[in-house]
Symmetry: C2
Subunit: 140 residues, 2 copies
């Protein structure tokens, strides 16, 4: 919440409010020792975890299960040079509990891609950071 | 360029055309052994490298100079569940050549934040991948 030169640091509650209205975010992880990033649609669950649905055969599932990942969402307006970004960092895990999987199949996020037998991946929001850029019309 | 279930793989030229029109992308790197991601405004240079301008004191500069990073841009429409994403992976380096720095100060990307004595970071587009999501109205 303190003010810096060009942006305002957001507190956890502000971050979660912004995340909740973003339809798409990006999972940031490591694949074959290289930095990797994949945009996905998602939903925040009631404990502020990031939930997404993907193919059980995807590279993503193999790379992130049990691993700390980052998840980013943002919204910027190039005309006013303003916007916000939020990053959640925490362990990702595939939902393996059948009852929980069944519950998410009814209530959780779907995938934007046609999927049969999708699996749910949850990212715990251990660390949540964000900032708001107010626009700097004088900057080139 | 081949067709998969829910998306179309883009070739390098298509990726670079889309990147060239995106005002904001995200640098994906590792900071203190954790995955990190930071949205930045950027420009593609004539050799298809990603160029950005940032503070010489930033965490980003310290973390990415001489390191392979990923850089992602995308555009999605939640209503039609369609859009595209492009990822560039390659080594990042701070521009240290005075003549090149001077040239970029005149012609390169500015920063959206007010900066004094910004430095330019270049990411070589060694690997460029992308995909287009055509919309899957049947998916939940």
């Amino acid at each position: 919440m303190f003010q810096t030169d060009g942006y305002r640091v957001l507190d956890r509650q502000e971050c979660l409010r912004l995340l909740a209205r973003a339809p798409v975010g990006r999972v940031v992880y490591t694949r074959q020792a290289l930095p990797a990033v994949l945009p996905v649609n998602f939903r925040l669950d009631e404990s502020a975890c990031v939930l997404m649905c993907t193919s059980p055969a995807s590279d993503l599932v193999r790379a992130v299960d049990g691993v700390v990942v980052a998840f980013e969402a943002d919204e910027f307006d190039a005309a006013t040079r303003s916007g916000w970004s939020v990053v959640v960092t925490g362990p990702a895990s595939v939902v393996t509990d059948p009852a929980e999987h069944e519950r998410l199949s009814r209530t959780g996020p779907g995938s934007w891609m046609p999927l049969r037998d999708g699996v749910f991946v949850r990212i715990e929001s251990e660390m949540v950071t964000g900032r708001e850029l107010r626009g700097a019309p004088g900057a080139r």
